[in-house]
């Protein structure tokens, strides 16, 4: 386990940062997408499209940063170990929405699910090169 964390450590941290950006980007897009009225946007012509662009820009930039960080991260370890860490974006999304959208209720089943996802990421992150393959 320690050996794997050493080998994949940088990648794991970078993938966690990118999962966080994914969750943050989603949160930033939530409002503009919910209130999106395409007919109104296009009836306003260039002004409408420009305003829509400005509204989705922050989320897009956060996504782009996440993609760059993820790409760098994938260079530091096995794809089959690092890619599933993306699932932590669900965990970060729930934490962020609990902080910024306190009216949104979170059920205890979801909280249990969060801990189960974290446990799975730890098991995969701790898989060692010396583990015997099944194939």
């Amino acid at each position: 386990m320690i050996e794997s964390l050493k080998r994949n450590g940088k990648g794991i941290i970078l993938l966690l940062i990118s999962a966080f950006s994914l969750a943050l980007g989603q949160l930033l897009w939530k409002k503009p997408m919910e209130n999106l009225d395409l007919a109104l946007t296009f009836s306003q012509g260039f002004y409408g499209v420009w305003m829509l662009f400005l509204k989705v820009l922050p989320g897009f930039l956060v996504y782009a940063v996440g993609a760059v960080v993820m790409t760098i991260g994938l260079g530091y370890g096995e794809l089959s170990v690092l890619q599933p860490i993306n699932s932590m974006s669900y965990v970060f999304a729930l934490i962020l929405s609990a902080i910024f959208i306190p009216t949104e209720k979170i059920s205890w089943i979801t909280v249990v699910g969060i801990f189960v996802v974290i446990a799975g990421v730890i098991v995969i992150g701790g898989s060692s090169k010396n583990d015997t393959p099944v194939n």
């Binding site: 993609a67 760059v68 993820m70 790409t71 760098i72 991260g73 994938l74 260079g75 530091y76 096995e78 794809l79 089959s80 170990v81 890619q83 599933p84 993306n86 699932s87 669900y90 965990v91 729930l94 979170i106 059920s107 205890w108 089943i109 979801t110 909280v111 249990v112 699910g113 969060i114 801990f115 189960v116 996802v117 974290i118 446990a119 799975g120 990421v121 730890i122 098991v123 995969i124 992150g125 701790g126 898989s127 060692s128 090169k129 583990d131 015997t132 393959p133 099944v134 194939n135």
Partner: protein
């Protein structure tokens, strides 16, 4: 939501399989464009694989929107975990990474967790 017709079910299965496969393949291309240890970090920005991976993610996201129109969110979210299974398969075939019991176990635990998260959100 109205029950799905046979045609809808076929659409759902095809869209689900292709979107998860494309998103898994996208991460493979991103890995290919990755500078790796000590590599020049700016070089990835001129790598075609980086943009190919990015475009494939956008396509997968578009397909996901189609799924969300046909199925409840609480189902779409866990079904997306199929991506991790594709990734394990692709990284074995294309990168020679081992499929180990621990990786399978971890993946199963993650999928159970995502199902619980989605189930809780759907309530």
């Amino acid at each position: 939501m109205t029950p799905l017709s046979t045609k809808d079910i076929i659409i759902v299965v095809v869209v689900l399989l292709t979107s998860t496969f494309i998103s898994s393949l996208a991460s493979y291309f991103l890995k290919k464009s990755s500078p790796g240890e000590g590599g020049n970090k700016l070089r990835m920005l001129i790598s075609p694989f980086f943009y190919l991976g990015g475009i494939m993610y956008v396509i997968a996201a578009g397909e996901n929107i189609i799924l969300l129109k046909m199925l409840p969110y609480a189902m779409v979210l866990p079904l997306g975990s199929l991506t991790y299974i594709w990734t394990m398969f692709l990284s074995n075939r294309l990168l020679g990474e081992k499929i180990t019991k621990k990786k399978i176990l971890g993946m199963c635990i993650i999928i159970i967790g995502v199902v619980l998260v989605a189930y809780g959100k759907g309530k």
